[in-house]
Structure formats: structure tokens, C-alpha cells
């Protein structure tokens, strides 16, 4: 929690600065800081020999979805949303998603990741 409190605070501030000043560097630095927070969490998990809990996964995916939704809403309805802002959002959110997928693939392997998703679908179908 401490790590996330720190990384997310600075990450969001940098992202906001990026959007406010059309600064690609500031905005992407913000997303990079959030990815750094994710990596720090993985390292701590490895040190303590634990994985992500269901609540943590739900919170993470929820926050990501809210972020993407806000970005799309700003893109559609916000005034003065320039090219740099679009680039920040697209590259930034893609980067965060890529970091998550990379983690899954490294941790479970390509086949394992695919089977994990496939299993979930199979369970849903059975239900």
C-alpha cells in the first residue's frame, strides 16, 4: 500500500501535468512511474513469497478501467484535447496494459496465460 500511495501520487501528478501542458515527456513519465509502482509490487511479492490477492487484482483492474473511461470521455467531450494528449493517453494506457500482460506471461508462460483465460471461459460456460 505504501509503495502504491507513493508511486500513484507522483504518477497521477505527472500525468495531469502532461495533459495540462501538452507535454509528452511529463505525461509518459507519469505512466512510467505507475509501471514502476507495479514492478515494485511484484518485487515485494517475490521477496515475501506471495502473489496478488483477488481484492488487489479487482482494485487494479477497476482503477485501470476508470482511468481508460475518463480518458475516452475527455477525448470525446473535453475541450482542447490535443494530439499530444491523445498520444499520452494511448501510449500510457497501452504501456500499463503491456506491463500487466508481460508480468502474466513471464510468471505463467504463454501457454499458462492462455490456459488460465481458457479455463476461466470454460468454467463460465459450465456454469
Amino acid at each position: 500500500m505504501t509503495g502504491w500511495a507513493f508511486f500513484v501520487s507522483f504518477g497521477i501528478c505527472l500525468i495531469l501535468s502532461g495533459f495540462a501542458e501538452d507535454s509528452l515527456i511529463a505525461g509518459l513519465s507519469g505512466f512510467a512511474v505507475i509501471v514502476a509502482g507495479f514492478v515494485a509490487h511484484i518485487i515485494l511479492n517475490r521477496i515475501y513469497g506471495v502473489g496478488f490477492s483477488q481484492a488487489q487484482i479487482a482494485l487494479g483492474l477497476g482503477a485501470f478501467a476508470v482511468g481508460v473511461f475518463c480518458f475516452i470521455a475527455s477525448l470525446l467531450f473535453g475541450d482542447g484535447f490535443g494530439e499530444a494528449d491523445v498520444a499520452i493517453g494511448l501510449v500510457g494506457f497501452s504501456g500499463v496494459a503491456a506491463a500487466f500482460v508481460t508480468y502474466i506471461v513471464i510468471n505463467y508462460g504463454v501457454r499458462g496465460s492462455y490456459q488460465m483465460v481458457y479455463r476461466l471461459h470454460a468454467e463460465e460456460r459450465r456454469r
Binding site: M1, T2, A5, F6, S9, F10, I12, C13, L16, S17, A20, E21
Partner: protein
Amino acid sequence: MTNDRLAWLFIFVALYATYCVFWGVDCARGRRGAMDFFLAERGVPSWVYVAAATTLTFTGWVAIGLPATILRDGFPGAALALGAIVTPLAGAAALSRQWMLSRRFGYVTPVQMYADYFGGPVIRPVLLLIALLFALPFLGMQMAATGYLFQVLSGGFIPWAYAMWALGALVFLYVCLGGLRAAAFVGVLQALLFAAGLVAIGVIAWVELGGFPSFVALLDKLGAAKVDDWGASSAGYSAMFTTPGVVQFVGGYGKEAPVGGVWTTTMVLSTVLSLIGLQLAPAFGVLAFSARDARGFAPQQVWAAAATIGFGMVFFAVIAGVGAQFLGASSAITQASLAVGSDLPSLGADHDVGLIAVYLNSLAARAPWFLGLLAVAAIAVTQATAALYVSATGTIFAQDFYRHHLRPDVTDRDLKFFGRIGVGFTMLLSLLGATYAPDAQVQIGALALPAGLQLLPAAIAICWFPWLTPRAVVSGLMAGLVVVVFTGQLGLTLANFFEIDIPWGRWPWTVHAAGWGMVCNIAVCLLFSLMTQKRSGLEHRMRFHDFLAEAAPRAPNARVWRPIAWVAALAWFFFAVGPGLLFGVDLFGAPNAGAKAWLFGIPSLWAWEIIAWVFGVLLLWLLAYRLGMSQPPIRPIEMEPEAIRRPI
């Protein structure tokens, strides 16, 4: 714009407060006993200790005070950044061994340790007095600075006293709930914010100045122009770039001020030594005793304090402090047309502590969210200090006053209750002092660091030298404290009050009160030790030293490395913060010769300080790791059976 700024300020403060209260509540769960409240059951993990101890090592002084000092006094004042080496050096000398003693003999507070080792009726009250000096006026000064910061950042919307009381109440709440455990765990976030805030202030200055090359170009002009309040040295160098001699035999402030600047090498050395007081303060000892093991000591001293925070201090604090001169904070430089911006308002000598506030204010229009976040970072530093000091003082109050003097048979529950009362009283008195007697508080609070330093012979005696006798150490401590009072502002005020004419002012001969106190302390200590050697006393002391000799790690090839370490330490002190600092003034290019003549592309004195910092980190590594001074004991320590039964 003001609304934006206030909104972000409140959002971040609310998030921070929620985090603190969460930890307070979480640590209070499960009906934990007094030992958990006081020492977290001696189970603070190493990484938590590293973070919390680093924040406590530097306090708000670094975050708020150092850039302001550099703004006022330039590169000579920047030598204080080498306190990042000297302060943990004291920890390397004493903390690991004190931790071993606390494990073996069951000490909860350093006061118990000193009282048990030295015996006699004097040491305990003197240590309580020093603990209170840190807890009340020193803490009150820092809390007041936080309140002032909040007032400036809210555009005057929140008066400083209200802000200070509200932030004090937050500290009280989470410490009262969770004790030292909560203070230490919250300290992790506070440490991260502290490090990031220190870097961020430098980055703001860097950006405002137009990048590093632009900053160097401005320094080039300033070096040639000699525009500042202190004038020029005999060599014709601007006082901002040169150290005003080894020592100046002047009466001191109030009688005769030094010429060409405050920071003679003697003043630098004695001031930097005074920072050792932070590590020797009883509160720091309580935090060290709470560590689960000794694995955190070396990384805290070498990598967290000296390397990381030291880097922030020698680079970013210097850029923020000196850079502020070119951004409108110095009226002399603005008038000489050397300023490149007017982002900062002109700060007078009395308002230099507002430097961080005005830096953050400069963000209000462009990035109010960063204003909110960095304000919390600045607040967090002082809150970390406050939390650990009030927690430790509550512990000392319950253990060394209530339990020792009033009720030795107190129950666990009552002891915890009185610990909480101690926390409450400490917080209340420090805030009352800051609100209603700020001048007195500043004068008394200024004694805290020099008074803490006076514990150095006592700490060294316990850890290394049984030859120093209890009477000698206690006499030296008392003599040192008296001299500290009468070479500082408080002594002069007292003398004035009683209409006594003292022939010197504050800090005579450009030696800080801490330095005068230390000289007297050591002289008395050595002299009395020669005269008061007794066999029976030595046997008592050897009980501790025999245990340390058995438990402390032995470095391979110690016979080779020990003399090397001594020589390296003495050389470092001489060249980095001692008379050798003078070589740094123009060794890498004369200050007025321009950037092209500067060997490293920066002023010579700054380059010298950076090199001294690098060698300082190496020296600390040598002592803490290679010589094993901060390494864990060679085998697990079992508590002495007697220590479990007896209340100390």
C-alpha cells in the same frame, strides 16, 4: 486559481491523513501490550527501520532549513550538506552495539541503558532533560515551520497556528493508537516523500533556471560580479564562493560578527558535528532498540542516509538554494540584473525558512496538484520526526519516570496508558510552546542538537572504552551542557535578564556552541577519568564490554583495516569539513575566473564538496561493512535471565 490550489492541497492532505489513521488503527488492533506500544515488540522489520531512521536522521532541518541556509550563505553554507556523512558516522560508531546491549540486558530506552551502565542519581534526570529538549522545543519549532508552510501555501486562508494544531492532532491520533509501530510504518511513506520532495524542489529550480548550463552561466556571472551581502574575500572572491578562513577570533554574534561570512571551517566542523546529536538523541535510541535485527543499520547509514539523501543534499538542495538567488529571492542579485526570473518573491534574512513554501507557490498556476503533493511531502518530513519523538518521549516518560520513580510494580495495561499520556503531554506542550512562546522555544530548541552531541563520550564509553569512568562521563556531560547554554543564545538572554555582562556573544571565535561544549566535555571527561579509576567500577563496566567483545562481529583482517580506517576518517574530517575545506575554494579553478576555467564546469568549492561526499560514502562503507561496525552480531543474542525479571 486559489480554489484549485486549496482543493489539491486538501485532497492530498486528506489522503495522507487517511493513510496515517489507517496505520494507527491497524497497529492498535488485537489488544497489544505495552511492549508493542513502546517498541513494537522489538520487531520493526529492517526495511521499515531503514526508512524511518533515515527520516529521523535528517528531520525537517534538511528539507526546509538547508536550502534556505544555502540561499543566504552560498557554497560555504552548502558544506553543511556533508552532515549527511557525519550524522550516520556516529550511528556506525554506536548504534549497532547499543542495540546488542538492549537485546542482552532488556533495555527499553537508552536512558535505562546509560543509567544501568553509569549508575548514580544524575545521569537519568540529565538524559530525561535532553529527551525533553528534543521532544518539546525542537519539535515545536518544526511543527511551527509546517504550520507556516501551510499558511503560505493556502494563500493565508489557514492561519499557521490552526494548521499546526490540526497536523499535531493527526500525529497524536495515529501515535496514540498504534504507538511506535504506527510511527515507524507510516515513516516508510514519509521517507519516500521526503526523498522525492528533496529532489523535486531541486528539479523545480532546475527547470525555472532553464537547465544546468544556464545555471552554470549564471554562477559564472555571479562569481565575477561579487554581488552579495557578505562582500568579497581578501583574494577578491565573492563570499558566495569562498570560505572565510579557518577561524575568526571574534566575540560572536551580539558582540562582534565575523567578516566575509559565517562559515569558517571551524564553524562548519562544529555545526556538522552538532548534527550527530540527532543520532545520539534518546528518541533515536528507542527506534534502534525496536529493530527486529541489526541488518538494517548498515544499509540505513551507508545507502539510505549518506548515499541517497546525501546525493539530494549536495546536488538538489544546492541547486534549490543557490538557484533561488537567480529566481528573485535575493534582492541584491535582482538589483544587479543577474536574476533570470521573478518566480520567487524576495526573501529577507528572517524569512529564508519560507523558501520551500515560495518554491511550491510558484507551481500554483501551472500544476496545483504538484503543489498539493509536495506540500504533503514537506509536511510528512516533520510529521515523521514528530511521531517518532513523541512516541519515544511517551515511552521514556512511562518507563523512566512513572515506572522508575512512582510505581515500579505498574501493570502492563497501566504502563501503556501512561505511555499514551506521555505522548499526549509531549504533543500538547510542544504545540503550546510554539503557539504562545515561539521566541523562547527557538532559543531553547536551538540547544537540542548541541545537547544531544554531548552524549557522544557516554555513547563511546558504553560501546568502546571502559576506561572512561562514570563520574568522568557525567561530569563531562554536565560541563558540556553548561558551556553549550552559555555559548548559545539562551545563555546570553539569561545573562541579560540577570544583568550580567558576559564578554562574548553567541558562538564566539566562529565556533558553534556544540563545538565549545564538546571541547569542555572531552577535556573534563579525560581528566576526571585519569583521577577516578576504581577496580570495582571497572568490573561492573567490563560485564558490558566482555559481552560486546563476544557478540560483536569481527572483521577479517581487522588489524590491517583498522589503522587505514582511522587515517581515512581523520583525513576526511580534515579535508571535507575541517581546515582542508580551504583548499577547495580555488583548487579546481578560481571562483572569478569563469566557467571555462573551472575544471569540472562548476565552482571549485561545490566540486570539492561533491568529491568529499563521494569519499564520505566510501568511508562509511568501510566502517559499517568492511570493519563490521554496523553489522549484526555473530550469533543470536539471548536476553540475560536477570534482565527479564527486574525492572530497570
